[in-house]
Amino acid sequence: MRERIASHFDPFVIPFLVGMAFVLGYCLIAMIRVIAQLPKEDRKRFLVSLITPKYLWMDVRDIFLNCLIHVKLWKRNRVLGYMHSSIAFGWFMIIVLGHLEVMLFVPERIHLFYYPIFFNYFVAETEQTIQGSLLMFLMDFFLLMILSGIALAVIKRFASRIVGMRRTTRLSLLDRVGLYSLWAIFPLRLLAESFTAHISGGSFLTIPTNWIFRQFLGNDLNALPTWWAYSIALGVFMCVLPFTRYMHIPAEMLLIPMRNAGIRIRHSRKGFALLEVYSCPACGVCIDACPMSVQKANCKDCTVYLNRQLRRGNERRIEEISDKCLLCGKCTAVCQVGVQGPELRIAQRERRKYALSPSFADINVRPMASAVVHGAGGESGGVLYFAGCMTQLTPSIRKATTSLLDKAGVRWQMMDPDGGLCCGRPLMMAGRTEQARELIAKNLEIIRASGCDTLLLSCPICYKVFKEEYPLDDIRVVHHSVFFQELVASGKLQVQKEEGLKLVWHDPCELGRGCGIYDEPRAALAAAGEVVEAAKHHTESICCGGSLGSLTLSFDQRRPMVQNALDNLTAADPAEIVTGCPLCLSTFVRQADRPVRDIAEVLDSRC
């Protein structure tokens, strides 16, 4: 081992140092800003989580698995998973190994930032020693790994279909600069190390390339310019990084601990929302996933473009994208980083100022409260069934649900036999949280008056808001699909099974992705027939297209989305489509080529 450069410095490291200083400074300031923007209690919660061993372990594990290994992406698409983890993990290992080399061979230079990066230029090491040959082998191994990832990235950029993506994001100019400089870094490193391999040593990759080059290049004059180019590529990449999609690399490392600490979006543009926007890698997986993308005109309304417009501050487009979305949550389900597209959009909707904001605080709910007190007949406990507005418009569901309750001998009464108040979820989706809270307070009065122990909902839209926003503590909130599954399992409902009757379950967005209920309805349906799956199901289920979430989509625009969702459901040619949401039901019925029924109707007709 010997040091080649007496001064331990060469001007070519300057571009790298400038880039490094800039990116570290920028990220530090950005991090402080994001943390400072959090509401006080959130900030405290986050900082406490950083010194709690349980959270700390979770953070380290998640950062390692998600940022370096890209586990979620592997599960989704192996080619893309390999591409990303080879670059991220390979690069990480090269940096780690570079530091290891410095620490082993020239520990006195560890304070020089650039030494681990340009180690082979400054230090000549032979592969004769065991540490030397092992480290050099590993260096070459990881470099090769990265190069294979870069090769895939180039292929992906020009032919995304080969790696299984139908559509990919259109890059902005700075994104392109970042992309090309990233592509350039590793081939340049290979060249630079190859040109110096006969002096500084190398391994299975760099020694043969060094030999090849020396066959036709008579001298070492190419070495220094290549190291310059390598350093410049690094410098350019780091200088543009904060303004490109590559900002997701540092942003995600902050996002993961914050999410683990339970921080939620509280402000449309500040704090956690800002962090989510910057964590978007603009990979474009959400474009293919978005139910609106069946029409090309809507492709630019996916979450990846919302994030881009939020970074650019294009208010007109932000509003358009935020209002159009169905809030089905599929983009979040497929997102590698977990950017919450629907929550980000709701936060944008909350910014709007309305000329008229009718108050619900003056509604007199005493008649409705006394009706449920009377209905309970002085007894506490029992089931309170809230049909909600959508079930009132699909009376077959209400009829089947009440019939099943009677058949199972459940003591129940209706909360809204004569129509009731809105559950508040549609207002929440529209970003009118304050008004939703007024309705929630009113509904709470009625529920508490009834003395029930179970609140039954046949609409997942209601279910989600009752579960998440109502402080009901000791009252169980349950969706009818789950409730009936329990009654079937316990034998209180005897369902006659028809062998060979193929039923497909449509996961409503609010029930599946919204509340994580997938298995109970399928189990209940299995008692009535043979459950088959749609082409895309569970977390990847496709929104029916009728969602209340969208404020601006017209019926004409929704029609192809409904058709797409139906085509997905009928992949296994089921006899019937079954769902647990009155809105999905009425949306599908209008366009389906086969019967569409609610799970309650299916069970009721067979017991």
Binding site: L393, P395, S396, F555
Partner: protein, 340 residues
């Protein structure tokens, strides 16, 4: 072609088809009527009396079918496929026969909107909810347990018409006046009953329609409530509870009824669309067949030798349909004169 009597396939033996076939026969052509139902007369044959004079529908159907008596008629016969020839069309019928013809007249009519698609109105769910067609059938045969001496009856206008959610934005034209006619008939049948009509707006454009409407209010005391029905529920005794908004005084209203009649609207006939696609005839966005010109040549298609009569191009009243049938026959006559 020159020496042979031209053959014209008339698809559908409703009132348009029957009248056109008679006219074509009188003009010296050889029309062939093809009807998928076992009897001729189409929707009118299912009706009891016709507005505004309450004349029996059976009389009209009888006189029209008598007029077309000597025309070769296939009933209970579907068309398996249609094809284009050099200067004519070929039809393969469901019974295996092939019909070669020189012109085709679409008299395929309409479909009545499936009221169960508007689930909030409860058709097929609640016993006391029926459609306009069910009521006409009751007038014809008096067999329907749902119509049992009602004390309160409601009519819902525009069910599946002018409704973007139901996929039909067009006005069905005839339901306003049909509802008034049926309301009057119900009132004549059950003088004690209270009768309500829930409407968006009343489109009473035809001869004597407005008088009919005034008569319904003045002489029969029928209540007209401007406002769409929002939802229909069922009371414990099986009666139906209708919620609507009276937009004239701006208040929500709730009435309990013994019978609710849904005025199912006129929507396109999917069979007609299918045949049209087979021989390359254009279909409009609303699903009805597209005329060469909506003002000057409504009975002509953009294909030579293909003509329309009646509700295959949109909702029509009976007089309009009959006039169109005659017009189509004359247009076909001119078409063959030019080809000579």
């Amino acid at each position: 072609m020159v020496n042979r009597t031209p053959v014209i396939a008339v698809i559908g033996a409703g009132i348009a088809g029957l009248e056109a076939a008679r006219q074509l026969k009188d003009l010296g052509y050889k029309p062939v009527l093809i009807e998928k139902a076992p009897v001729v007369g189409g929707h009118v044959a299912e009706w009891n009396r016709l507005f505004p004079d309450l004349s029996p529908a059976a009389d009209l159907v009888q006189s029209l079918s008598k007029g077309a008596g000597s025309v070769k008629t296939y009933t209970d016969t579907e068309i398996a496929s249609m094809g284009r020839l050099k200067d004519g069309y070929s039809l393969i019928l469901g019974n295996g026969e092939t019909l070669l013809c020189d012109a085709v007249l679409f008299a395929t009519g309409f479909h009545l909107f499936d009221a169960s698609k508007k689930e909030e109105y409860g058709y097929g769910i609640y016993d006391r909810v029926i459609t306009n067609r069910d009521l006409e059938q009751w007038f014809n045969n008096r067999h329907d347990p749902r119509v049992a001496n009602p004390k309160a009856v409601g009519f819902v206008h525009c069910v599946g018409s002018r409704d973007v959610k139901a996929g039909n934005t067009q006005c069905s034209k005839v339901c306003c006046i049909t509802a008034i006619k049926q309301a009057i008939e119900i009132k004549e049948e059950f003088p004690e009953a209270e009768v309500y009509c829930f409407y968006m707006d009343l489109r009473l454009f035809g001869k004597k329609y407005e008088d009919f409407y005034i008569k319904a209010q003045r002489d029969y005391g029928i209540h007209f409530i401007r406002g769409r029905v929002s939802e229909v529920g069922e009371a414990i005794d099986g009666r139906v509870v209708v919620k609507a908004e009276d937009t004239l005084n701006g208040k929500p209203i709730k009435v309990t009824l013994d019978l609710l009649v849904l005025m199912a609207g006129i929507v396109c006939n999917p069979d007609a669309q299918h045949y049209a696609r087979e021989i390359g005839v254009a279909v409009d966005e609303d699903g009805f067949l597209r005329s060469r010109d909506n003002v000057s040549s409504i009975v002509e298609s953009s294909r030579p030798g293909v003509f329309y009569a009646g509700a295959c191009t949109g909702a029509k009243t009976i007089p309009e349909t009959l006039a169109e049938a005659r017009s189509a026959a004359l247009t076909i006559h001119q078409y063959f004169n030019k080809r000579k």
